[in-house]
Symmetry: C2
Subunit: 268 residues, 2 copies
């Protein structure tokens, strides 16, 4: 039986994983806020990764999930352990680059230490979903056209590695997700002057970019996404089946139903 380690950051995902995998060893860095109850956590300093790896090995962990958001930590050079002294130059260099480079390095470090890095959806398959209408009435014909337009826009952006999400309403593009994330884009869309929008409604399309490492960076939506989409005047949310994490599916679907939004998972 493989044993899973969870490296817990912020957001709802670490808690869902910890609850769904009662045998898992859950690690969080000192100073990282997480929803996982403190009694489930083993806390470690970022400067002492050697102790963290020893902890995981002693617990029989052979695969790890990197779950939730982590801010770039400050490193106190005075307290590095030998493992971290070896790794620090590579980590400091990667911190100068983008999030993707840093994440790739972190994945590589866990693998060098003998741990497989798996996605949250591999550790707990219920976190993603099969194709179909998961909530609400499903899309109208006009909405189908908006979905097709949103897909064309994200497909065009794939080669330049931008755009996990996009909002289209009445054929008009009202938002393209950039670094700030889905919720920020939906707040932006909500502020669109009424006179500019051709008609009410529209959809949010979320899906991974081509080449995105789904183990550590899968698109995710949750109940707050449904609330933000409703506040932006949209009529539905479209995700890629099997390639989007549903953070608290029951609450997400209930929120969609309550606000008259459909939630559609499309076949990839």
């Amino acid at each position: 039986m493989p044993r899973t380690g969870i490296i817990a950051g912020s957001g709802g995902l670490p808690r869902l994983l910890a609850d769904g995998l009662p045998e898992a060893r859950v690690i969080a860095f000192e100073g990282t806020a997480t929803d996982v109850p403190e009694h489930r956590l083993s806390r470690h300093r970022i400067e002492r990764l050697g102790a963290l790896f020893d902890d995981l090995r002693a617990a029989g962990v052979d695969r790890v999930v990197l779950a939730g958001a982590m801010s770039r930590p400050a490193l106190d050079p005075a307290v590095l352990d030998p493992v971290m002294r070896d790794l620090a130059p590579r980590i400091l260099q990667a911190m100068q680059g983008g999030d993707d480079a840093l994440l790739r390095l972190v994945v590589g470090i866990f693998e060098e230490q003998g741990f497989a890095v798996i996605g949250a959806h591999e550790a707990l398959p219920d976190l993603t979903c099969e194709p179909g209408v998961l909530a609400g009435p499903g899309p109208s014909e006009a909405t189908r056209a908006d979905i097709a337009r949103a897909e064309a826009i994200l497909a065009a952006l794939g080669p330049v590695d931008v755009g996990q999400g996009c909002v289209v309403s009445g054929g008009l593009c009202l938002g393209i997700e950039t670094l700030q994330g889905t919720d920020a884009m939906l707040r932006f869309v909500a502020e669109t002057p009424d006179g500019l929008r051709g008609r009410p409604g529209g959809i949010l399309l979320k899906r991974p970019k081509p080449g995105q490492d789904l183990r550590v960076d899968m698109p995710a939506i949750g109940p707050e996404t449904a609330r933000a989409a409703a506040a932006a005047g949209l009529s539905g949310i479209v995700v890629a089946a099997g390639r989007t994490l549903l953070i608290d599916r029951a609450a997400l679907c209930a929120e969609c139903d309550a606000r008259g939004l459909f939630l559609l998972a499309e076949r990839p």
Copy 2:
């Protein structure tokens, strides 16, 4: 000597044209707010386009510029003149579609009536600019890389007819212009949490989409663009030489200089 008619909407452009072309006949619809002084204006009701065309012809106008933004007007069917009674069905139908379709129809109607439709930059060439650094110190090497990334993003979006503008900072895409326009995008970028931005600086790239009708829909920037770009923490603005309107170039360049922004016009 050709005589120019200006159909004036809101924004700074109609006033610049009216001041730069003292011989021009300037028309505004009843109820449209415009910066052109009322004594320069000939006001017409949208329901009586026949009278508007007669006015232009009587003034010897053979070419018109559609300048500034116009909201979709309400039509009072009781007061349509014969010309407008003929046109109304096409106009009402185009109003159901996007702005582009409506604009194409309006251009077509002026052309059917015997007027050439020209761009503001054709009526007053000073409104656009030659290639070069127009303000500030010019881009650094790191900023050149941001410009190249922004160009790649807008090029990718060309085929789906999205994106007159884009913000890139430290290689990260912080904003893509959608229906709401450049200033809304820059306000969105300004709200980016500091922790997300890799480094300060970054650039705004503005340029037309492929196939955009530059006579009636050329990208434009002005002093408020420079203020918004500075508020978003950017280090410069890049436009397409000859294909971007500079609304009040002197004030724009002064604003850039005062805020330490460069303004670069690139060869198309």
